[in-house]
C-alpha cells in the first residue's frame, strides 16, 4: 500500500480575514490519474489558527497548527466527483467555525501567558534571597510575605478557573470540528462504488482557498504559472479580459452551437454553459491532456470551444456546477454582455437538442456512478 500524501487543506486565516466579508470558499480540484486502485491516501486538514501566515508570528513550526488525519482507500474516492464534498466542506469548515477555533485558542494562550507571568512573579519572590539588616543573615522571602494574600487569593483562583474554562472550551470547539471533519471524510469515502471500473480516475488533490485568493500549488513552477496567465490574457479579447480581471471568469461562444460558455478559474469542472437568459445551466468538464498550468488549461478550453467545439462536447463530461463548488454558477451575465454574446452566437446552427444528442450518455448497464463517464 502506498501512502500518498495528496490532500492538503490549509486554511489561511490571514487571507480569510482580509476578505472575510465574502463569506465564501472556493474549492479547487486538481487531478492526476497515475494512482493505483489499491493505494491509500492519507488525507489531512490543517487548521492554522494564527492570524498571520508565517510572517510576523514566526516560523511555521512555532505556530499552532491542528491537524486531522484521515486515511482512505482510493477505491472509495468516488464521492470526490460528486460535488458533495464541497457542500460538506462548506458545512464543516465554515469561516465562523474557524474564527471560533482561533478565538478559543487565543483565549487559552492569553490566559496561559497571564498564569505564567503570575507563576514567575511568585517564583521570583520565593527564591530571591534577601539580606535581613537586623539579623544580618540571608533568608528567603515567601510569597505570603510579599504579596497581599487577599489579592493573590482573588487573582490566582479566578485566573486558574478562567484558564480551565478556556481550555475546556477550546477542547470542545476543536473536538467538535475534528469530529465533524472525520464524519465528513467518512461520508465522502464511505460508499465503495468503484467496482467495475478498470481504469478509475482518481482526483487526489484538493485545495481549498477563499474566493479571490488562489495560491499556486507547489507542483507548478511559479514562472510557468505566470507564463500561462500571460498567454491567456494575451489571447482574450478586451471584453473577456475585463471579465476575467473582475470576476476571474470569462465567457465565450461555442463556435459550432453558439452556446454561451463560462470558463471559471480552475483546471477541472470549470466550464459552465449558460442559457439565453445568462444563467448558469450545466457544467461541461473537459481539459487538455497533461498537467498544464491553470492559464494554459483555461486558454485551451476557450480555444477548443471556439474552434473545436464538437470535440469538446464529445469528450466533455457533464456535472452540476452547483455541486462543484463553483460560486460563479450563481452569477448572471450582465445584460449588455449577454446581448453581445447572443449576437456573437446568433449565426450558429446547432440546436440545444442536437447538442445534448451529441453528448456521450452512460451505457445502459452502467452500475456505478454514471457521472464519472
Amino acid at each position: 500500500m502506498v501512502i500518498i500524501d495528496a490532500f492538503a487543506q490549509v486554511v489561511d486565516l490571514a487571507a480569510v480575514r482580509s476578505i472575510s466579508r465574502l463569506q465564501h470558499w472556493r474549492v479547487y480540484c486538481y487531478g492526476f490519474q497515475d494512482v493505483a486502485f489499491d493505494d491509500s491516501i492519507e488525507f489531512w486538514i490543517d487548521f492554522d489558527t494564527e492570524p498571520t501566515f508565517g510572517s510576523a508570528s514566526g516560523p511555521i513550526a512555532e505556530r499552532s497548527r491542528m491537524t486531522v488525519h484521515h486515511r482512505v482507500p482510493v477505491r472509495s474516492l468516488n464521492d470526490w466527483h460528486n460535488g458533495r464534498f464541497h457542500e460538506a466542506a462548506l458545512r464543516a469548515l465554515r469561516l465562523v467555525d474557524l474564527q471560533e477555533l482561533y478565538e478559543a485558542r487565543r483565549q487559552v494562550r492569553v490566559l496561559r501567558d497571564l498564569e505564567a507571568t503570575h507563576t514567575a512573579l511568585n517564583s521570583r519572590f520565593i527564591h530571591v534571597p534577601l539580606l535581613s539588616p537586623q539579623a544580618g543573615v540571608v533568608q528567603s522571602v515567601t510569597t505570603d510575605e510579599l504579596i497581599e494574600p487577599a489579592s493573590r487569593n482573588m487573582l490566582a483562583p479566578s485566573l486558574l478557573h478562567m484558564l480551565a474554562d478556556a481550555e475546556r472550551h477550546f477542547e470542545v470547539v476543536h473536538g467538535d470540528l475534528c469530529r465533524r471533519v472525520h464524519g465528513l471524510a467518512g461520508r465522502w469515502f464511505s460508499a465503495s462504488q468503484w467496482r467495475g471500473l478498470h481504469n478509475p480516475r482518481v482526483y487526489t488533490e484538493q485545495m481549498m482557498y477563499p474566493v479571490g485568493y488562489s495560491p499556486q500549488p507547489a507542483r507548478w513552477d511559479p514562472q510557468a504559472v505566470e507564463r500561462g496567465w500571460a498567454l491567456l490574457r494575451e489571447n482574450l479579447d478586451p471584453d473577456q479580459r475585463a471579465e476575467f480581471e473582475a470576476y476571474r471568469h470569462f465567457h465565450c461562444v461555442g463556435g459550432t452551437t453558439g452556446i454561451i460558455y463560462r470558463i471559471c478559474e480552475g483546471t477541472q469542472q470549470n466550464v459552465i454553459t449558460c442559457d439565453n437568459n445568462g444563467r448558469a445551466n450545466n457544467g461541461l468538464c473537459f481539459l487538455p491532456e497533461g498537467d498544464l498550468v491553470v492559464g494554459d488549461v483555461m486558454l485551451s478550453q476557450k480555444i477548443a470551444l471556439e474552434l473545436n467545439e464538437k470535440e469538446a462536447l464529445r469528450v466533455g463530461r457533464g456535472f452540476n456546477p452547483a455541486y462543484a463548488g463553483r460560486s460563479a454558477a450563481d452569477v448572471r451575465i450582465p445584460k449588455e454582455r449577454l446581448e453581445q454574446l447572443l449576437r456573437a452566437g446568433g449565426n450558429k446552427s446547432m440546436t440545444a437538442t442536437e447538442v445534448s444528442a451529441r453528448r456521450r450518455e452512460p451505457p445502459l448497464d452502467w452500475a456505478g456512478d454514471w457521472w464519472m463517464l
Binding site: G31, R219, W220, D221, Q223, A224, V225, E226, R227, G228, L231, E234, N235, D237, Q268, Q269, C285, F286, L287, P288, E289, G290, D291, L292, V293, G295, D296, L299, S300, I303, A304, E306, L307, N308, E311, A312, V315, G316, R317, L373
Partner: protein, 74 residues
C-alpha cells in the same frame, strides 16, 4: 521567423523559433507534423488578419502558432 508556442506539462508554454529560410521552414514543417500527429491542436492567435483560427496544414505565412494538447474528459 516562425514561432511555435507549445503548451507542455507543468512548464507553461515553450517557445520554439524557426528561421524563415529553407532549412528553418523544413524543420518547422516537420515539427508541425510531429505535434499535430501526436494529437496537438494547432491554432493561430487572433491578429489584425482575423480572429483565432485552427491550422490544419503547415503554412509558412502563419508566423505565430500555438499548440495545445488534445482534449480529454474531466
Amino acid at each position: 521567423m516562425l514561432t511555435f508556442k507549445i503548451m507542455t506539462r507543468q512548464h507553461g508554454d515553450q517557445c520554439q523559433n524557426f528561421e524563415a529560410n529553407e532549412a528553418g521552414l523544413k524543420a518547422a514543417e516537420d515539427r508541425f507534423r510531429e505535434l499535430t500527429g501526436s494529437g496537438f491542436f494547432a491554432w493561430a492567435p487572433a491578429s489584425e488578419a482575423g480572429p483565432a483560427r485552427q491550422i490544419r496544414k503547415f503554412d509558412a505565412a502563419e508566423t505565430n502558432v500555438v499548440f495545445q494538447p488534445q482534449l480529454k474528459g474531466g
